[in-house]
Subunit: 244 residues, 2 copies
């Protein structure tokens, strides 16, 4: 019975159990228990892999749909259509809509930090670091505009929907660490320590990026260049090296 794969342990991190756990224990006795256990383990692992793979696939389809339409206008049917499957399959791989969206937020983080990891430069001088970091920011502003738009949408949703808050906070923290690394390295290279804490620094960069995104999506052609200049300025300001 029951294609219901969801345990009550979903709050412990979306642990997935195939079928009824009791059944696995009550395996057929026609073979030595040890060998059967090994085989069952191998098979189970393969199945879990396939299961996770499809989850990722559907999650990516959802991510694409969300970034196109925004949270308020995205329906499960639309997501399914973007995935090539029928709408019913979503409830086979995800508990419900909140489960799917939460999974997407987590997945977004993976995509996001990966992109930003490329930004962690190996620049030798402060000027070089500033230029590379600003360039990466401007590039992602253009290339991943719809993804960033989704991020700000979901972060706003988390102000209303408590279920999202933990994941959103985690992503925010990870972005803050990224900014912190850049600022620290920059300060190290210039020899002038930062004039504010990492939280404040992140808030400043985030606010600037958000403003740039609004302009970029509104079709302002100067948005990327202005962001690039803004980032350079901001690095100087944050290390107290700015001149009026």
């Amino acid at each position: 019975m029951s294609r219901f794969r969801w345990t009550d342990a979903q709050d412990v991190g979306h642990r997935i159990l195939r079928g009824n756990p009791d059944e696995a224990v009550t395996a057929p006795v026609t073979r030595p228990a040890i060998r059967t256990g090994e085989r069952a383990d191998r098979i189970a692992r393969r199945r879990v892999d396939k299961f996770e793979e499809r989850r990722r696939e559907l999650g990516d389809a959802a991510l694409q749909t969300l970034s196109e339409l925004g949270y308020a206008r995205t329906s499960l049917r639309e997501i399914a259509q973007n995935s090539g499957f029928s709408h019913g399959v979503l409830h086979y791989y995800f508990h419900d809509k909140v489960d799917l969206i939460t999974y997407c937020v987590r997945r977004y983080k993976a995509v996001c930090v990966q992109r930003y990891d490329d930004v962690v430069t190996t620049a030798g001088t402060a000027v070089q670091l500033a230029a590379e970091f600003a360039g990466a920011m401007a590039t992602t502003l253009v290339d991943d505009a719809v993804l960033h738009r989704l991020w700000y949408d979901l972060r706003s949703q988390s102000l209303f929907e408590e279920s999202f808050r933990a994941d959103v906070a985690e992503i925010d923290a990870s972005l803050e660490r990224m900014i912190s690394r850049v600022v620290s390295r920059y300060a190290e290279l210039t020899g002038t320590p930062p004039v504010c804490g990492t939280t404040l620094a992140y808030a400043m960069f985030d606010g600037m990026f958000q403003q740039s995104l609004l302009r970029q999506l509104s079709g302002d052609p100067a948005a990327p260049a202005d962001l690039r200049a803004g980032v350079v300025d901001m690095l100087a300001i944050v290390t107290g090296r700015a001149h009026p």
Copy 2:
């Protein structure tokens, strides 16, 4: 015929004409045209006032509902319920849902700038100005949290829904001017000119406020105090007076 009060001129700023404009011109000829015209004008003005008054009333109800539930979860019936009227009346006073939301965004601006106008202080010293401004920020963070939450929600929506963009941009500009006034005055009092443009300064304050709001709504009791301190720091940073 036709309770349809909407002209095609709604894009010129929601100009409202009562009934069919042609009918007004074809007024009864049993009286001198001039007297009839004056009287009609007086009556029309009164009616328009009443109409506008109810619009404001419904708009406020919508604003309250939106700030409670967020854009994605707010329905016209819920708004009507919060207003004490039936759901049908909304289409008597507003063209459609977008019209209503747009009206709300504009109305939010009125509420918002009014609150911030109180913030425009008459402080005599830089320290006093910083303290008062920071205090006002911290206060509104607590008192108007749900309203600010709505603002960030709607600003995110404007990234998807183009209809909102113009109004959102206008509010953003007005907030930027507010920040600009404070920073300019502060710089004037300290004698140290700002180290960045008003756009960058606004982005920084906005980012900080947004981060504080997230923490405030998550129940972090230190959020207001941290914002207060952050604002003071930020004023110093922005005028290049910060020390590591």
